[in-house]
Symmetry: C2
Subunit: 544 residues, 2 copies
Amino acid sequence: MDSLMMDRPLQLKTLLWRAERLFGHKQIITRRDDGYRRYTYAEFGKRVRRLADALNRLGVRTGDRVGTLGWNTDQHYEAYFAVPCMGVVLHTINIRLSPDQIGYVIEHAGDSVLLVSPEQLPMLEQIRDRLTNVKAVVVFGDGPPPTTALGPVYGYEELLADADEEIEFPDVDEDSPAGMCYTSGTTGEPKGVVYSHRSTVLHALILCLQGSIGVAERETYLLVTPMSHVNSWGMPYACALQGASLALPGTQPRPHHYLEIIEHARVSVCVAAVTVGMLMRQELESGRQSYVLDSLHTLWLGGQAPPIGEIRWWQQAHGVHVCQGWGMTEASPLLTFTTLTSQFTDLDDEGKFRLLGTQGQPMPLVEIKLVDDHGEELPWDGKHAGEILARSPWVARAYYHDTRSQDSFAGGWFHTGDVGVIDQNGYLSLVDRVKDLIKSGGEWISSVDLENALMGHPEVREAAVVAAPDPVWLERPIAIVATNSPVASDDLTEFLREKFPKFWLPDRFVFVDEVPKTGVGKFDKKLLRQQIAAGNNHSTDKTP
Amino acid sequence: MDSLMMDRPLQLKTLLWRAERLFGHKQIITRRDDGYRRYTYAEFGKRVRRLADALNRLGVRTGDRVGTLGWNTDQHYEAYFAVPCMGVVLHTINIRLSPDQIGYVIEHAGDSVLLVSPEQLPMLEQIRDRLTNVKAVVVFGDGPPPTTALGPVYGYEELLADADEEIEFPDVDEDSPAGMCYTSGTTGEPKGVVYSHRSTVLHALILCLQGSIGVAERETYLLVTPMSHVNSWGMPYACALQGASLALPGTQPRPHHYLEIIEHARVSVCVAAVTVGMLMRQELESGRQSYVLDSLHTLWLGGQAPPIGEIRWWQQAHGVHVCQGWGMTEASPLLTFTTLTSQFTDLDDEGKFRLLGTQGQPMPLVEIKLVDDHGEELPWDGKHAGEILARSPWVARAYYHDTRSQDSFAGGWFHTGDVGVIDQNGYLSLVDRVKDLIKSGGEWISSVDLENALMGHPEVREAAVVAAPDPVWLERPIAIVATNSPVASDDLTEFLREKFPKFWLPDRFVFVDEVPKTGVGKFDKKLLRQQIAAGNNHSTDKTP
């Protein structure tokens, strides 16, 4: 027998319908250089249809790719709906990639139109010979586009002014592509992940669930997580689904801007990279300016694990709850989320901070397992560490036109490359990246644990720990540290000594002004390892 | 291009996996005649697999139907997972149907095994000649099955004792059938609706969303809504998904049992028919027994619209928030849910009660529209009334092996037969069933509005309003009323006069001890109309 349910596809236009019909009065607030622009979801919907009509007039057709190089703005948000709802693929390009990488991903995705922030035009001119498939460039912003040597160029607003706001979006197959995003691998060119309408809608629903970030109509979200980065963690879609007010930090925001927006828009939940949380804290601690933050109750920090010291500081200084998830480009991105379940209601604060410092439990419809080097499953006992495998309707089964890394998808599971332990309640704690683990004399050392401990030191701003080759132990840990005021290596060693076995203590401390970071703001351990191996940083190994 | 997401099916075993792996310690509590039985989701999962193995040994195979005639018990809950997870269809049969109707649905669904509560055996013996396809009857309860003339009969626990708790459930196609339920139509035999794994999983997710009932891990749910009735509103699946504690009222519960369970299990949310809410209120007001209800904060009442007087009473007397949704067997059941969105935060209490008295806004992934008699779409202006059409991945596209009512699914929308108005924010207010509307002298009269108003009278317990044939006006409203103490017809007319146009006032009041109800507890308006048309109730038209 068959089931007799309607075969309504899971598609993004259903979310837009809800935002317009039920929450047409709710607001989207974008920081501009000259203040704030506010408009409603009702106006948003009309502009989304205008953009789709304009792209259609530029010759964009079902299945084509439209690339974006933009900041978190209302216009970029419009593209988040217009492009997939017309059956086209939204390819969000990370503006922090190198020009060469950007040229590669535009060419590899075959983008036919680019929507770009004006300051990206000189970079695009540099890589002009790689834009052979691009038939138009649309420039975000209000005015006419700047003069450029690039092909046909249009101003975003002039294009929308001539377009139709009453077009109807087609029904699409839920498995058809809605978006794509490239992840910069450890080696070689970035690899493309292609999301479907189905995966994107399911992921949006999951964000609205009790026990996840729980996007709700009554909240106002400040979305700092770049729209150029893994669907902006799915928040643009979840906010529309629930009609939540959305605040966007606009072009080239600085840390004080985030705090000003929180005050101005009475933001209740801020979603950002861990680094952004740290920068906001620094701004607040500097006392340069005062901010009214009483509306803010939750900070979702991601991209890497927020140190417990950060979690504690936000709670104690501002009554702000810090939560985190664990995910990756290949997983839309969210796989786990940190919620305190009811059995921990009576934990003391430090116990709660420890739990909030884990990566949390798998989300509904996500299955995870731990495996050892031979692929054998390991128990969830809080002790055994292994690589984490995941599967879910919003996890990739392959990279786009890319034969590399097929092993990552062996056996119907995505091999995340992250090493962790899982306790008996399903709370995951990341130990390290498979490739970042340090193996010293046959024993594993977790660089993440050492980093988190170091960042718990009152004077340490940033700390990265990587392996250096060693003739005796094969690998030994080296710490690269940025401090607020001079600290002696011996003091840091003393500080770590009580927490770790002796063989874990770093052989050297390298003091830097800032730890180098990748295009997505994570510590660039690949670069650090190269520098350490080449001895580039030897000279800075001193007691300052 | 294709999307490159995993094609993991939406299937119920993923929910069970989550309940067992993350929430294995959480409890399911069932009222027994001799106290309460408590066990954990970890034990639950083992018993679910035992039941599946036992059914398999009885010869049940993929695609077969297993019927249940049971109360809300742990064993019935086990069937909710065991049957669909093994690829078999769970056919929950409403124990309040007539023996003839039950015979019809067992035969029509082709049930091959029945799981039944022992007191149902005599009824099954009556309809024995219709059980030709049934190869085994399994009797719920702890002991050996009672003596019966029926074919092979097994005790539930003896069957489980011999079964394997470590079987593996297969992956199933998400569009394959998971459950079925018959709806007793206004005329003729009941009609079958067949749910899929996909529709059931999506519906469960929706119940866990902010803005719906929002099933959460920290809550304890008392599930009074029968498991024999439209998937028990999806709550069994949503609770497992979130690992929420679940309290079940067991066999043949009485109103005082519900209140005792709330006290005993510290229930925070109770899910029940409107009638049950009224019965609990009567029990509380009677003062026969005292109950500690401080754990209870929410009452989800459904099946019909809770009168505003009930909503107000629970809030004022016990600080309990009453919410409601709108749905039907064909829609799994939920289509809308009543949440106060942020724009109404500052409403006064009465304004909030009025809004809570509406049927709320469409859930995510549900689209609704209003149409007039000619199928033309009507505006959402809070004024135009029309039939409500709905579509969603969890709405039926046809009845099972049934050519009746094909018009109900014309044009890709389900024609609900409910008449309502929708305001500009998408809040739906039901006016009536299409067939229950009263048309008097060319003008519509809403029976529901009159009923709600009458039930707002302090002495009126129940009120149903139906049309009586009239030589002049074609139809005129008649009210059938059950009161706590004698009330004069004139007083009721006076009570209504200020609220309604003169022509809405009922021509007659018929006083009864109890308004007759259908098998699912709704006012039996079909029967009332027949009685009124036949003049059966004329004699009771008096001022008592």
